[in-house]
Symmetry: C2
Subunit: 375 residues, 2 copies
């Protein structure tokens, strides 16, 4: 398995505009990373021009950045509609999605209309899915405003809404035309959201790049205190690994599943507590500890790896102990997961530092993991 | 513009199994046409095997054919779930779509599950869209049981649901793995549905094949009395033309729009009266007369062409006079159409027999057409 070119282990000395390309043939697109990008019209050069555009955001982010984005787009589109959704995972459902469709139709948006997702993972997933379905598909752009969205959810074209019976069960693989990661927007991010984003940054270490894991451990304080150069490196390296994985397996027929490290346990926590109680990144952080524990109990990794992961997740400001839902409830919730096949739960486990695999595990062993890792 | 190979002008002497291929690279698939196909396990050879499958049908069709289909699939899937929807265009909405998702999740259907759409255009469009979205995409098969679905909607991967503000506004381009057109199921089709299907058969003449138009005129009685050989030829030639168009323009960036001849006026009729009052094919039949009238008033075609189309639509058992919604209401309804660009309504018009084009027309001229063609 060829890895993407190795990243520098030092944070960049200065922060400059960086550009990656996700290579998917005719669906390829650039990922821009740097300060001051959101409000610069240059960032959007190369996109299709159209009469109409719509900025989809939420009530928290829109007041901060929608105006700057609309101004930057003024030269590209005659009219830029704003669609503001309620904030939170609890609203990632059909009802809220239909508010997007309804607004687009009410405003007379045609099949050339470009949608701009301005927000975190929920806004990005919903706007992407709306773009996939509106008139059978319109172009869209990701302008992620959380660390989590910048390092993970805005890249790779996974879009979805939740169903009462399971997270992200209804959706599409639908690629954006462009991803704009403006590092300046991380300044306004609440601390809890920053930590949640770090969970997805950490993920890339054990599944793909041991030296990146070393780097995160060495720079976790710089990251939590929002050192721009450290954040720039974390976003860049995360997007690089994600682009490399997605470029090989766009529709998750194999390799791409490793990006779900920690997510099987994490989704059970989110669904079990009710969406929105824990942030997605918080559930993934705790889920990674549980998946590391499972890897150890399967004899793949030493106990010291579990401790290392637990310590790093904790230092990131994330929970390391799962809620006490009971092992059976966890198992029931995990049985509804897109990675499963033939009724068998499949987990992303670490086989060696930097190498992950998808495999089943006996219910009894999983129950032991849950007992060991929940309050 | 290269045409598909010319079809015989005579009905086939005997009716045999026929196979066409829709060429879309890795998304290519066969279209099987013939008697006795639905209940034969041979028809489904070559599909992915999976533990679970779901037959999605409606309360009219399921009692007639679901059992035979399930039996034919028994060797391919461990468990075949049946999902029965209410019958009719009025149910082609999110609420009914969610019944499919809910049943699939309740039954523990995984990402390998194959969906079989058993029914007419509504069942096919909804099942296809459900397949496109369920866990971000599962394989599906079209088993169309109406003439309209066999000659048009089951082929080409257009899937959608209606939105209160417009028909087929929410959907996806998502190709089936196989289309099975069993001619025997047309025996149980109500006369009104048979006529509705003939509208889409007739369509292919003026837009692509003048000799097919001649053939339909010569065989309209045989078609309405369900002569198997005549139906076989009509289905075969219709699918052939549709496959040829879709093969060149899967996502309707140009040519494919000609398949919407009669549909702009038709959709306005359906939406204006409320979905389900007129059958889709009835609205398209009347819409073709109106689009022919528009072609004449634009100076593209002689008045004799309009009379020819009106006569053929009438002989097919279809309405040729639109409901009196008022010209303004028609125009308002047609302004919400996926073919439109920059707020301008675009119509499929006939430029010469066998050649169609997409173009705008002045509101005043369109209003004249509406006045001339409505009660």
């Amino acid at each position: 398995m060829r890895r993407p070119r190795s990243a520098s282990l030092e944070p960049l000395a200065g922060v400059e505009l960086d550009r990656l390309d996700l290579d998917l043939g005719e669906r390829s697109y650039p990922i821009l990373i740097g300060p001051g990008l959101l409000g610069s019209s240059d960032s959007y050069a190369g996109l299709p021009r159209s009469r109409m555009a719509a900025i989809v955001s939420n009530e928290t982010v829109a007041p901060l950045y929608a105006r700057a984005l609309a101004d930057a787009l003024a030269a590209r589109h005659e009219r830029v509609v704003q669609i503001v959704l309620p904030d939170g995972e609890a609203y990632k459902d059909w009802h809220t999605l239909d508010r997007i469709f309804d607004a687009l139709l009410a405003e007379g948006c045609d099949r050339q209309t470009v949608l701009y997702a301005l927000g975190g993972g929920v806004v990005g997933d919903m706007t992407g899915f709306a773009a996939a379905c509106y008139m059978r598909g319109v172009p869209f752009v990701q302008v992620p405003t959380t660390l989590l969205a910048q390092v993970d959810s805005s890249v790779g074209g996974k879009t979805a809404i939740n169903h009462p019976r399971g997270k992200n069960m209804i959706g599409a693989f639908y690629q954006p035309r462009l991803v704009v990661c403006d590092l300046d927007v991380l300044d306004t991010l609440p601390e809890r959201e920053l930590s949640a984003g770090l969970a997805e940054v950490i993920k890339y270490g054990p599944i793909a790049d041991p030296s990146f894991l070393d780097w995160i451990e060495a720079n976790i304080v710089a990251l939590r205190t929002r050192d721009k150069a450290a954040l720039a490196h974390a976003v860049r390296r995360s997007c690089e690994i994600k682009a490399w994985v997605v470029g090989q397996d766009e529709r998750e027929s194999g390799l791409r599943a490793i990006l779900n490290f920690g997510h099987t346990f994490g989704h059970a926590i989110e669904a079990g507590l009710g969406y929105g109680q824990w942030l997605h990144g918080e559930a993934v952080g705790c889920g990674m500890v549980m998946a590391s524990e499972l890897s150890a109990r399967l004899g793949l990794m030493p106990a010291s790896f579990v401790e290392r992961m637990r310590r790093l997740v904790e230092r990131s400001g994330l929970p390391v102990t799962g809620p006490a839902l009971g092992a059976q409830r966890y198992l029931d919730l995990m049985r509804v997961d897109k990675k499963n096949e033939g009724g068998e739960i499949r987990f992303v486990v670490i086989e060696a530092l930097g190498r992950a695999a998808l495999r089943p595990a006996p219910d009894a062993l999983v129950a032991e993991v849950i007992e060991a890792c929940t309050a």
